[in-house]
Amino acid sequence: MSTEQTLKINIPGANTGLVNIVRAFVRQRYQLVENEQADVCIIDLDSHKADSMLASIREQFPVRPIIGLSLYDIDDDNIVHLKKPFRPDGLTQVLDQVKLDLDVPRIIVKDNNKGSLSKAASAVSDVKIGKQRAIAQNGIINRSKTEYYNPSDFLQGELIKAYKKSTGVGLNLRLEAWWNPIIIFPDIRKVWVDADDNQLQAYCRLPLKRFAKLQESTEKDVKLTPEPLLDMKKYAGSLQPMDAFLWKVAWWNAGGQLPVEISENDLIYLKHWPNITRYLCPDNVVQICAILHQGPVAARRIVDEIGFDAKEVFSLISAANSLGLIVKDEGKAPTVSVDVAEPSETVKQDTKKRKPKNTGLLRRILTHISRR
């Protein structure tokens, strides 16, 4: 679903009163439709037919998100709970969040003799559905709790170890971790893997141990073996720079979480700018990098004060950290301001820099160059 598309809602079994209320609340933003066309269902869980409606919807549309309205707390991770009585903005916030989740590109993985990957993709879907829950209580979206991941549990950790070993001994290495082999060529600083980004992204969503289980593998460890170089032409076309590859693996491994070694309140900064023209670079990467490059700042502060999506900020920090670009402040450098409303006094560290007088102009240039 693209962001321009209207979210289609169905309210099965609801009385006219509830339909009218919802219609009034979501007017012009969402569309009420018949069951078959809906993207999301709203169910009054306090109605006497709730259980049968829920079962019916789940049988017909197993992956369709369900928003449950109830006076009571509910114990079902697969329902987005909106507690009654709810306010209009509470309902629209929940719908916005559901729409956002639906807008995340679906991972499509062809079977192609990669049965394990298809299983993995299924598992990814399960994880994603599970994470859609717990969005709202009393109609107010809670600030998401920061989550952490351990890079060592994912491809990222194994890749970093393999890079170190490969560059250390100057040897081409083959990394096998219950998936397609990844071959590292340290001399040309490139890696090769026979998979596209959709497949890699799906693989990156789960800890490696899960793949071992999915494949019922008897292999307990990741394998790292020398790769005899027979014919470099065989790899041409699919080679990727090592740093760009690790960046995106870390981004996807993070899945919007911070690595365990960085707390959301740690003061951190970028040692230098990443080479973002050659890396996975969603919309706000340039600005977040600029903030992190100015001087020490907490990840949580970037999210709360600038208002970026926490997942984007945390994934970027994880990716930069995988390349060794994140430095924890040891109390020597001054902190930076990340005010938005006024031209920021960002560069206290560099006192020679003037406070920008021409913020309006800079904004117009930014808008112009981002738009075309």
């Binding site: 490059h293 938005v340 920021s344 102009l361 808008t367 981002s370």
Partner: protein, 190 residues
């Protein structure tokens, strides 16, 4: 009607003319001539005065994009062009004999503008010669105590050049926010 300048500089063959063309709203004005000195070994035509492009901003404002001539014998032009610039873009041709020395030279030569504004550095032609890598440029900047974005850039790519300009703008003010749709339309029609 506001008139503003963004300066592109760098050695011969770094892609200044191409970079300006990739983000200019109008076909750029070029002052190429047949090269008659050592430059002809690098490319048959080179910029002898300046390159010029423009971005039309809302409210009849203009951002003039000036590219300095690459040859040092025209360096008397550089200060004239740089005066009043909102920032500096340095493009470095990685395929030249000593690109790190080139960068050091331009950083020093435009020190006044850099100290009062900001600089963004694009490294071109890395597909032809991979060394030095971007990390070595970062190390040079650190030695010179300069904080600046350095990206690998294809001067023909609008995306690459645009990202570098955006990095320059956010270096000037990391809290910058693009104008909202209605703001932009209003100021454009004002």
């Amino acid at each position: 009607m506001g008139q503003h300048k963004l300066i592109f500089t760098g050695p011969v063959g770094a892609g200044k003319t191409t970079a300006i063309a990739s983000i200019s709203d109008e076909p750029p004005v070029r002052t190429d001539e047949l090269a008659s000195d050592m430059t002809k070994q690098r490319k048959p035509e080179t910029t002898v005065a300046l390159d010029y492009g423009v971005m039309h901003l809302p409210g009849d404002e203009k951002l003039h994009l000036y590219g300095t001539p690459g040859q040092e014998r025209f360096d008397f032009m550089w200060d004239i062009l740089a005066t009043g610039g909102i920032g500096l873009m340095i493009l470095i041709n990685n395929n030249r004999p000593d690109p790190l020395k080139d960068l050091g030279f331009f950083l020093q030569r435009f020190d006044t503008l850099i100290q009062s504004t900001a600089v963004g550095i694009g490294v071109t032609q890395r597909d032809l010669k991979a060394d030095p890598d971007i990390t070595q440029y970062q190390q040079l900047l650190k030695q010179m105590n300069i904080k600046a974005p350095v990206f690998e850039v294809d001067a023909r790519s609008r995306t690459d050049v645009s990202l570098l300009v955006q990095a320059l703008l956010f270096t000037l003010d990391p809290g910058l926010k693009p104008e909202m749709e209605n703001e932009y339309v209003e100021s454009k029609t004002a």
